[in-house]
């Protein structure tokens, strides 16, 4: 599959994101499939930021190992990114600002100086340099100059006709300048728009989480701003209120999580979203949801830790906390979707699971999956495919048939699940309890038998949870010389690595683990049994997933870890190299 990669870089606050977003959105509308990855720093202005877009003919979940076109607004962009350029690559730079750019020794690329800022100034405003740069890029890759028109009309329509016209003029100026000087550069990869009618959504994992929640009937979100999870709150703010859904910015993550518990208790489907440090603050509340048997949905968009760690970088190092966190022992479910589509459906399903099992359900993604925007085919995100199952709610009739005070919220049942009443229901009174309690929700900490009954009841409620539909996805033959295992956002790179290995004749499998608690022991065992070697690929330093697999299913000798914890996502090349696959499977 032909793919073209394009990156724009400059100082933070310089409009890099909007340049990237406009270029990518326009291409998405033309029918290309895209993956857009943002590299940014934890500061507002200055520093270095870039936005990379991979353009393809069919869906891609990864931004690509190399780079065909680099648009540099400053020297630092060249210094930090030019080495990624392929031999036939193109370096477009702002020749007004970088009169004599330092080009790294031996860089064999086509240089395209364009005075983007000066041209934008002449047309009315230097901020339009992103439009000039988009026009330049369009010319060089062979798109038409009017590719951006409809997008500009939508984005700037509210600001008036003159703003629309000057932005269109800026694109054309860039386009014409580049056509005059450089023309379409034929050596570049030339992916074609997909032949599927276009109309792809261009959406991030965080946005898909927000939509999944909305589709599931979530009507309350309380959260505290934290990179890289804040976009979930923005998505909720943009779309919940239209349907009466409430969004609250809490004073801290403790409050956010507890508010979501209170709201769930009162009968609304409610959630919170956060990242590592916030999740740590929520641990006490997660235990509360567990013992009080209150449904709760939390989305954890992982970033580099520990402490405040790497706020703007990706990592998968919260796994242990997700699986083991909070004091005491509670039933919980932890889902790890691996694509944008799964962000949508797994979040939606989280609400069903939370109500069905009356326990906390955590959806764990990471910065790379959460903040990267990608194209998904029409119909891949479908509200109609979301089912709503509110679990064992006791009806008004059932309650009225009981003698007053007879309803037992925490009745010991074989399934471990007891019928839940909602405040407002007559005769359904109970106190949701943080303290240990009896079946009738009365505090009971002195009777060991009651304690054991209640604890055992809670702990067996997930016995009925069948991870087969959600838990894992396996691609490969029954026996392999090597099986790569991953969870979450590493899926696409593992997939591409597996494909390359197969093309070289290796017998390789790919196991994607999508539920980590309760761990899908039997399924993992089944798919890994036939592997000679197992390499677990994860973005952390200690191999938490590998550890979990060893603890749950064994295979100690066969398991090797491929780890990365620099803050950047894996490249395909790294997976191949790190695992020393080249030598061992004949690449």
């Amino acid at each position: 599959m032909a793919t073209l990669t394009w990156k724009v870089g400059g100082a933070q606050g310089e409009g890099i994101d909007s340049t990237g977003d406009i270029f990518a959105t326009a291409l998405n509308r033309m029918g290309y499939y895209l993956f857009a990855y943002r590299h940014f720093m934890s500061l507002i202005k200055g520093g270095h930021t870039n936005y990379k877009v991979r353009v393809a003919e069919s869906p891609v979940g990864y931004h690509g190992d190399d780079l065909d076109i680099l648009v540099a607004f400053d020297q630092r962009t060249i210094d930090e990114n030019a080495h990624e350029l392929t031999e036939d690559g193109v370096l477009i730079y702002d020749s007004g600002k970088l009169k004599s750019p330092v080009i790294p020794d031996g860089l064999q690329v086509k240089l395209c100086p364009v005075p983007v800022t000066d041209m934008a100034k002449e047309l009315g405003s230097p901020i339009m340099k992103n439009m000039v740069a988009s026009g330049v890029s369009a010319a060089i890759v062979g798109l038409s100059a009017d590719a951006f028109d409809s997008l500009i009309e939508e984005r700037f329509g509210k600001k008036g006709e003159s703003v629309v016209e000057s932005n269109k003029a800026a694109v054309r100026a860039g386009f014409e300048f580049a056509m005059d000087r450089y023309g379409v550069l034929k050596k570049l990869p030339n992916p074609q728009p997909a032949d599927d009618g276009g109309g792809h959504l261009f959406i991030s994992g965080n946005e898909a989480v927000g939509l999944g929640a909305l589709a599931a009937g979530c009507r309350f979100l309380a959260a505290y701003p934290i990179t890289p999870a804040t976009e979930i709150m923005y998505t909720a703010l943009a779309h919940f209120p239209k349907y009466g859904g409430k969004v609250l910015q809490a004073e801290d993550e403790i409050a956010a999580c507890i508010m979501a518990i209170g709201a769930n208790y009162a009968g609304v489907r409610a959630m919170t979203s956060t990242s590592g440090p916030g999740l740590s603050l929520m641990q006490e509340a997660i235990g509360l949801a567990g013992i009080s048997e209150t449904p709760l949905v939390i989305v954890d968009v992982m970033r580099g830790g520990p402490g405040t760690g790497l706020p703007t970088k990706t990592e998968q190092s919260d796994l242990n906390e997700l699986v083991y966190g909070s004091h005491g022992e509670i039933p919980r479910i932890v889902l790890t979707p691996s694509t944008v589509e799964e962000c949508f459906y797994y979040t939606a399903e989280a609400f069903n699971l939370a109500e069905k099992y009356q326990c906390p359900v955590i959806v764990a993604t990471d910065l790379y999956l959460g903040m990267s925007k990608q194209s998904v085919p029409v119909g891949a995100i479908d509200f109609e495919k979301v089912t709503i199952d509110r679990g064992e709610l006791i009806s008004d009739e059932e309650l009225l048939a009981l003698a007053p005070g007879e309803y037992r919220r925490y009745a010991v049942t074989e399934s471990g699940i007891s019928k839940r009443s909602i405040p407002g229901q007559k005769n359904g009174r109970f106190v949701a309890m943080s303290n240990e309690h009896d079946e009738g929700a009365n505090e009971e900490i002195e009777d060991p038998e009651t304690r054991v009954q209640q604890m055992a009841k809670r702990m067996r409620k997930l016995d009925a949870f069948d991870p087969s539909a959600l838990g894992v996805e396996y691609d490969g033959p029954e026996t392999t010389e090597l099986t790569l295992v991953g969870f979450g956002s590493t899926r696409a790179q593992i997939g591409e690595a597996v494909k390359q290995l197969r093309e070289n004749g290796a017998k390789v499998g790919h196991l994607q683990i999508k539920v980590v608690k309760p761990f899908p022991d039997a399924l993992v065992k089944r798919y890994l049994s036939g592997a000679e070697r197992i390499v677990v690929v994860e973005n952390n330093a200690t191999g938490q997933l590998a550890e979990l697999i060893r603890a749950r299913v064994g295979f100690h000798d066969k398991i090797h870890s491929c780890l990365k914890f620099s803050g950047d996502p894996f490249t395909v090349e790294e997976i191949l190299a790190h695992c020393k696959l080249k030598q061992e499977v004949g690449l």
Binding site: L211, L248, I261, Y265
Partner: protein, 287 residues
């Protein structure tokens, strides 16, 4: 119509004989009955400590939550279903120690709930340590040489942060307490009632007698204007906070009517499904 008895449970309170919390419970039961509320319309959210046990003895929906977390729990309940009467209850350690951050922010938001704090100036259930409202110099197991800190000025904090209803009551005066609870519950917006509720076992300083000697009842003062913030703060300063009555009230927008997503229909009663044309329009916005 429900009577006071309907708000009782079979659970026998485990509070010490003579504990101030008994009258807080009785006054609350009387207040909700006199207001004509039914048990299923009320949710009582409590924190942890002796005071937190109140949800076990009060027959309504309840949530015995975490230490210091009764206010965010109650906020979640109210915002999910604004048709419920939501009461939060806890102690001074619970609310003004670990829960102080939530307290100030709940005041700022003006969540339409009543917050009852049983203030005994000590930690009771953990057997007698200094609390956030203990006076400076107060001797306890954790302050053998006398507390080095100034006490938290809870009602003043509420007032200066924009509370819309602030009152103090005393467990030795059930009649006034019941009246204040009724006013607080009827008030539209956040209502704080700080109740001086003596701990007869561990606090040998701030006893019923001590409070009786100190307390001034502003409800009985002819010239007291609860709408006048300066007046309220002046009286609190002059008396070092040892006053009872409705100290301050003002009209302010109620959070659930102005927040993102405010709706006449309670969130818990909304349709979960989006109309099909809305789904399509929503997805189109991601192109």
């Amino acid at each position: 119509m429900a009577t006071m008895k309907d708000f009782r449970t079979k659970n026998k309170p485990t509070w010490c004989p003579g504990c101030g919390d008994f009258t807080v419970l009785a006054a609350l039961q009387k207040a909700v009955a006199e207001l004509g509320l039914e048990p299923e319309q009320v949710a009582l959210v409590s924190g942890i400590g002796c005071s937190g046990k109140i949800s076990q003895y009060f027959n309504s929906y309840g949530f015995h939550s975490l230490h210091g977390r009764s206010l965010p729990t109650a906020t979640g309940v109210k915002l999910a279903n604004q048709d419920l009467t939501v009461i939060a209850a806890g102690g001074d350690g619970d609310g003004y120690g670990i829960g102080m951050g939530h307290f100030v922010h709940t005041v700022r938001r003006n969540i339409d709930i009543t917050y009852i704090v049983m203030d005994n100036h000590i930690y009771g259930l953990t057997t007698g340590q200094t609390s956030p409202t203990s006076d400076r110099g107060f001797r306890s197991k954790t302050s053998p040489q006398g507390a080095a800190e100034e006490p938290v000025k809870a009602v003043e904090t509420a007032i200066v942060n924009g509370a819309s209803f602030v009152a103090q009551a005393f467990s030795g005066d059930v009649k006034q307490m019941t009246h204040i609870f009724k006013e607080a519950i009827s008030h539209k917006g956040f209502a704080l009632v700080n109740c001086f509720s003596p701990c007869v076992t561990f606090n040998k300083v701030n006893t019923y007698e001590w409070f009786k000697e100190q307390l001034v009842n502003v409800d009985e003062l002819e010239d007291y204007q609860p709408e006048d913030v300066d007046h309220a703060l002046r009286v609190l300063a002059e008396t070092k906070g040892t006053v009872t009555g409705i100290l301050y009230k003002q009209k302010r927008p109620v959070y659930h009517e102005v927040m993102s997503g405010a709706s006449d229909v309670a969130a818990a009663k909304l349709d979960l499904r989006l109309p099909k044309e809305e789904q399509q329009a929503l997805l189109q916005s991601f192109r």
